[in-house]
Symmetry: C2
Subunit: 156 residues, 2 copies
DNA sequence: TCCTGGACCGAACGATCGTTAGGGTGATGG
DNA sequence: CCATCACCCTAACGATCGTTCGGTCCAGGA
């Protein structure tokens, strides 16, 4: 397709970015929607990381916009997107908070830092993950590392 | 400064990118050079994460090139840079490997995954860290989370 | 069958980008 | 005091980018 032909599908480049950004928000939130809202928090965290990495692996371009390229949004759209993004991060964080409150995670857990480290790990994957690669195993390795840590042995 | 004036300092935009990329490699490797090569591995990991985050906080633009923008390098420079970057990651990984071999970290540790998660966490900071912000505390929070994990209590 | 509409092409537009050239300014040192 | 040099400016160039427009092609419906 020639560059000009694109404009029978979109209104402007900014519009296209906005559409892809919304598609990304939808995909990532839909991933979290598939995570049970009860049961062991540890398994819900695993499911959330799997869902996130799955979107990155299966919709790499959309994920790239949601993760990084959204910052070229302008005006009100930027604010609307940021609200969705903060909501996504908050949904993650509340997983860790709930785990701490229920005693399934350390009672001294800094859930903000925990969500940040977990999301950093899976976000960064958009820079190196091959499109279409298998991601569930990777997500599980991340989950085990984050939950059990690197030293000593954990309770599992 | 007007854009044209820049060219009394550089040869081309590509040259500038190359210079900043090398400056980044130097800064990050210098950070690791400041980490002791003996003593408790756990403290060396802490020092390495501190050093990395310090570069991100103090030289955000240089760090951004080292972490992400290097991919616009072309030809041989790209290969040279990638070798330096791989070496940096390998230096990190060898920390975790040594920790495992010495029994200071889990004997079943996947040191590749460990280095990936640790570096992802600190790399991602270039997207949100405020330039000049204090980073040592943050690095310590990351270190504790990664080493001790999120569930149960660890040996410290 | 013809007509319509959607998808794409090809060429062009103005704006921006990377770069060059020529010139001005101000500090430094012989 | 003048020459020099580093540093920056302005103006312009060609290339690329985002966008528009007229036209072609083709599938589906009347």
């Amino acid at each position: 397709m020639q560059k000009g032909s694109l404009y029978s599908h979109i209104e402007s480049k900014a519009d296209l970015l906005w559409e892809v950004a919304r598609e990304g928000a939808e995909a990532f939130h839909a991933g979290l929607d598939g995570v049970a809202d009860d049961g062991p928090v540890v398994e819900r965290i695993r499911a959330a990381l799997r869902a996130h990495l799955r979107v990155v692996g299966e919709q790499l371009d959309v994920a790239t916009v949601f993760i990084r390229e959204w910052r070229y949004l302008e005006g009100e759209r930027r604010e609307l997107f940021l609200a969705e993004r903060r909501r996504y991060e908050e949904r993650f964080r509340s997983l860790f908070r709930e785990g701490r409150e229920r005693g399934e995670l350390r009672t001294d857990l800094d859930d903000g830092a925990a969500a940040l480290v977990a999301l950093s790990s899976v976000n960064w994957a958009y820079t190196w993950l091959r499109p279409g690669a298998e991601t569930d195993n990777l997500a599980d390795r991340f989950t085990d590392l984050l939950l059990d840590g690197m030293r000593g042995y954990a309770s599992r």
